[in-house]
Symmetry: C2
Subunit: 324 residues, 2 copies
């Protein structure tokens, strides 16, 4: 998936170095697990977090390439660890087009594999940022991510969940790490404090918008078919923005669906998706995400001119047009 960065050879080259470092770090005494986790954490996604990190690092004048690669790798490793653990929880058969660690090796290996990735992440931080405030910031970020996950967990199947609850959860579970990636890029690249704050705000907006777009996609009927389950979030008791907007608009019609969502038939799920659209849930969520995207673009506009600014503009727009 690094093909995504074909047009940006400098970023691509940096990400290849990150991949290489990750493989070197994930060494364990079992070749098949080692291969699976290395593949998983280095070939799967677009590596958005390290890419944002390098883009923001470009606005500074301090360049310690070895340190930058380590920090970028730490961000991807932390993200990968959360994915491995998420797959246990969702019983996901696949991830990034490959069998998930847990479906291939069992949940036992998956639990420890995720833990092992957390550890490698922690080791990288200990090596390269112990003298900076970002060691503690990382611990606090990781705590926020997990508080977001736990609070979302605890709130599943709650038909009275508020939009505020939803926003707080996604601010933790998704936006926090993207915000940290941008902030660390600016800091470790040597940008000034004003630019660091801007990087954080851009990261927040991109992170939140990304999650909202992703949640909207889950209501798309085109993506579901008879073979494929639809509205999987709803069935798992995870009530996201489109649904919450529709519920607040027409509680009498929508709320009954949220009482026992795991028992809804295919027919009822389709009806619910149509209602969510009809009562403005999709439009409202889209509007919300577009505002965030606009906010990110306005802030990006204020960055110093240059290649990185242009790439950030393109990437923010593309990423937020459709989920990945």
């Amino acid at each position: 998936m690094l093909d995504y960065w074909n047009e940006y050879p400098k970023i691509q080259e940096n990400l290849i170095q990150v991949k290489k470092l990750i493989s070197q770090r994930l060494v364990i005494n079992n070749k098949s697990i080692e291969e699976a986790i290395t593949k998983f954490s280095s070939t799967g996604g677009k590596m958005i977090r390290p890419a944002l990190f390098f883009l923001f690092a470009d606005f500074g004048n301090k360049k310690d390439q070895e340190q930058l690669v380590k920090i970028a790798a730490s961000l991807e490793l932390l993200h990968s660890a959360t994915l491995v653990h998420d797959d246990i929880i969702d019983d996901s058969p696949t991830r990034r087009g490959m069998p998930s660690i847990q479906s291939r090796f069992g949940k036992d290996v998956a639990v420890y594999t995720g833990d092992f990735m957390y550890t490698s992440y922690f080791e990288l931080l200990a090596e390269c940022m112990s003298q900076t405030p970002f060691l503690l910031k990382n611990a606090q970020s990781m705590k926020k991510v997990l508080q977001g996950e736990l609070t979302q967990m605890a709130g599943t199947f709650n038909p009275d969940q508020t939009i505020k609850d939803y926003l707080r959860n996604i601010n933790g579970k998704t936006a926090e790490l993207i915000r940290l990636s941008c902030h660390e890029g600016a800091y470790f690249g040597g940008a000034d404090e004003k630019l660091q704050s801007r990087a954080k705000r851009i990261g927040s907006a991109i992170g939140l918008a990304f999650q909202v777009y992703d949640d909207i996609l889950n209501f798309s009927l085109e993506l579901g078919n008879e073979q494929k389950p639809i509205l999987t979030d709803v069935q798992q008791g995870i009530f996201t923005l489109p649904l919450l907007i529709a519920r607040d608009e027409q509680p009498v019609i929508i709320r009954p669906y949220l009482e026992k969502p795991e028992t809804l038939s295919q027919q009822e799920l389709i009806q619910l998706a149509l209602y969510v659209d009809k009562f403005g849930g999709i439009a409202g969520a889209l509007k919300f995400a577009e505002n965030l995207t606009q906010k990110a673009l306005t802030e990006i506009q204020e960055l110093p001119e240059g290649k990185s600014k242009e790439i950030l503009k393109k990437v923010a727009t593309q990423l937020l047009e459709r989920s990945y």
Copy 2:
């Protein structure tokens, strides 16, 4: 279980402070989960790791009580996190006489709860040891623990596992953290390097011996009865020292039991336990553990005179007499 320390009020007082700090750190936005994890990580065990830490801290002359309490808490939190994740893997219904996190709240909450504890551990380290070599040492220790767990996982159901494999695994999964507790105690208490090295060796010996005794207990027929499963390790494909010694002694008789251990009947398991005893597996493992205990006591004898030395002697003997 802090009653165990009734005779040692100073240690008990320190451990109460550790419990308090842990409760303060494990704050999440859900009261029932928060209560369960706080209870779990502060009321359950004997808190052996923080206790060993404080005992060794006593041999130095540098006393920053706040820092010591934080580090002791980090050791207990790391241990608790591994227990929460172990219970997912074993599907354990109980832990420390209470329902396990996963049986009470489900594996989803248990995965994130363990992760959340790791994070709180990491946060404590970031706060109080970022200027010392122990930040990196902690990351490396945690990596060893997980490599031990993963290697053991990968080696389950392997009838040709060697005694060397077994020792390497328990050196990682159990001894590492106990060794770290003793080493950190000596270092952060301000003891000299010679005493730090001794603390490490004592921790290694105690940690290994403890695990071997624990593994021997799993072969005790008295502990099993018709209601309670026996030889649970064997049934899960975990082949420990008593079994490996007996297999090496009488491969023709023992090895067939290791081919499909999950299919063995109650009768066959009892027969296997009797064989392991008959062919010297229990005696051999006991001898091995006793040698380690003796090694620990000989090293403890070399420590400076004082209350801590006396307590260490008693504790090492008691702990290693029977598992806990």
